[in-house]
């Protein structure tokens, strides 16, 4: 045990490990905050769908040899998010089907593009990295860290500022609209923010595992708590704790970061489910 701590202290001296921890905490925080709304709005899968779109965009960017791929990916993902949430209510193809279609479509096209125009020698490793995150969080540059910090501050700011409206719209969209809240604009804001969070978290867990960051903390918190504020706070804290645990474990034991974080989230979910059952049987 002491050995591990010593090793950890040693690792923490390295700037890229510190970067990974900072970005990890921020991503965990943002995705959990949004996750509560998404899960309740029955949009759990949007994280998954958007991350596949982000993968497609990433493939496109690397085929076109664009060095700084983040803006390209961000724009593509934001546009898709807006289209999905906008058309979700009225489109002929219903929300979940449209999402599944776009999601699997961009994954396939992305991989196809990478195969037709291979950008680097080691294609399989590249794809694996983008899908599962592997160790790319340890390759973050200082500018990327600052960008993530800025984006995270904006996301949390928006969430706090619009908290009451987000609650009202999530709980009952037609009531909110009918009584004068401009729900359309708030849905747009939520869509943009989701896209931003997805793009920042891609580096951390990879595009296949992002939905875990969005869904698990919210679901875990909902097992135990019964009001919106408590659920939101609990989800945020839990997500940060799980992500930190995941990153540190993966560094010490040398496991892939993304999957370790998701494993931590799963353990927490099981724990919270149990706690919820106990709480319910005690109160009865």
């Amino acid at each position: 045990m002491a050995e591990s701590f010593k090793l950890l202290a040693e690792y923490l001296k390295l700037p890229f490990v510190r970067y990974a921890l900072i970005v990890g905490v921020l991503v965990a925080l943002c995705s959990a905050l949004l996750g509560v709304t998404l899960v309740l709005k029955r949009f759990s899968f949007i994280g998954d769908g958007l991350s596949h779109v982000a993968f497609g965009a990433m493939a496109l960017a690397s085929v076109l040899n664009i060095m700084n791929e983040m803006p390209v990916v961000l724009i593509f993902t934001i546009i898709t998010a807006v289209l999905l949430l906008k058309t979700g209510q009225m489109a002929k193809i219903k929300g979940d089907a449209a999402l599944a279609m776009i999601s699997v479509g961009s994954l396939a096209i992305g991989y196809l593009l990478l195969n037709i125009f291979p950008p680097s020698g080691n294609l399989t490793a590249d794809v694996c990295k983008t899908l599962f995150g592997s160790d790319s969080i340890l390759t973050l540059k200082a500018t990327e860290v600052w960008l993530s910090i800025a984006l995270a501050i904006i996301v949390v700011g928006i969430f706090v500022f619009f908290y009451n409206k987000i609650f009202a719209i999530t709980f009952d969209e037609s009531f909110s609209k009918a009584t004068g809240t401009r729900a359309g604009i708030y849905n747009l804001v939520i869509a943009v923010v989701i896209a931003v969070v997805i793009v920042i978290s891609m580096k951390l867990v990879g595009s296949l595992l992002i939905s875990a960051l969005v869904i698990f903390p919210a679901l875990s918190a909902m097992r135990v708590f019964k009001n919106f504020k408590a659920v939101t706070i609990c989800a945020a804290v839990l997500s940060v704790v799980c992500t930190l645990t995941g990153i540190i474990t993966s560094i010490l034991v040398n496991l892939p970061i993304g999957s370790t974080i998701v494993a931590a989230d799963i353990v927490a979910f099981l724990g919270f489910t149990l706690a919820g059952l106990i709480k319910r049987s005690v109160s009865k």
Binding site: D172, F175, A178, T179, G180, K226, F228
Partner: protein
């Protein structure tokens, strides 16, 4: 001028017209009951009045300086709410959102008002409880308290007693009637199962169908098409 006027209103959704040329108005203090068979367009009418559905033609005019953010609405419950983790207080408070503009947090006055509305509906003992764990009747009261936070003038209610047992339905109707008589709130209510407890409260009736009827309760009773007649027999027998 009337609080709310519908002029030659034709309504529908998805490009389909369900009802043509409806005319009615509600003055301050009225209690307008909207009846009609299933599929006659009652909910669509309410949604059009609220601006959730665009009218096919014609228009809805607000009078007496009524703003959209001053209307209270009791919608039919949605599937999302069945497992939503929210306390009664959180739900009731959210009634203020429409009138808040860009202000992010509730004011002290709004918090007090929410408590008053919770008390008015007799659910003070539930205010910390989780919404999804309440009975149907209790949930409807919570949603009505939320609607009261949004308005002091006009309440639109879409089937407020659907799914409630007779006792809860009776209580709901008497609360609505009390809000209309004592607090002077104008009420526009859709209902298809008018029981004897509610039949004396409405001042006006709008019946939707092939030929719409709009008039006072007395005119409606005299018109010979009254839905209340059906229940008259029950009362005597």
């Amino acid at each position: 001028m009337a609080l709310l006027t519908a002029c030659d209103l034709s309504i529908g959704y998805d490009g389909k017209t369900v009802l043509k040329n409806v005319n009615f108005h509600a003055d301050a203090g009225d209690y307008l009951l909207i009846v009609g068979e299933n599929g006659s367009g009652k909910s669509t009418l309410i949604k059009t009045v609220l601006g959730l559905n665009p009218p096919v033609s014609g228009k809805v005019i607000f009078g007496d300086g009524l703003l959209r953010s001053q209307i209270g609405y009791l919608p039919q419950q949605t599937a999302v709410q069945k497992d939503f983790p929210a306390s009664v207080r959180e739900v009731v408070m959210s009634g203020f959102c429409g009138a808040m503009g860009l202000r992010p947090f509730y004011s002290k006055k709004e918090k007090e008002e929410a408590l008053e509305n919770i008390e008015k509906l007799g659910i003070s003992n539930l205010s910390k409880r989780c919404y999804r764990e309440l009975s149907g009747g209790q949930q409807q009261r919570v949603l009505l308290a939320r609607a009261l936070c949004a308005t002091k003038k006009l309440l639109l209610l879409d089937e407020p007693v659907s799914g409630l047992d007779p006792k809860a339905a009776f209580e709901m109707y008497s609360i609505i009637s009390r809000l209309n008589k004592e607090s002077g709130i104008t009420v526009i209510m859709i209902s298809h199962d008018i029981n004897s407890s509610a039949k004396d409260s409405p001042t006006h009736v709008l019946e939707l169908g092939k030929e719409c009827f709009f008039g006072t309760k007395e005119e409606y009773d005299r018109s010979g098409r009254s839905v209340f007649k059906m229940y008259g027999g029950e009362e005597n027998g």
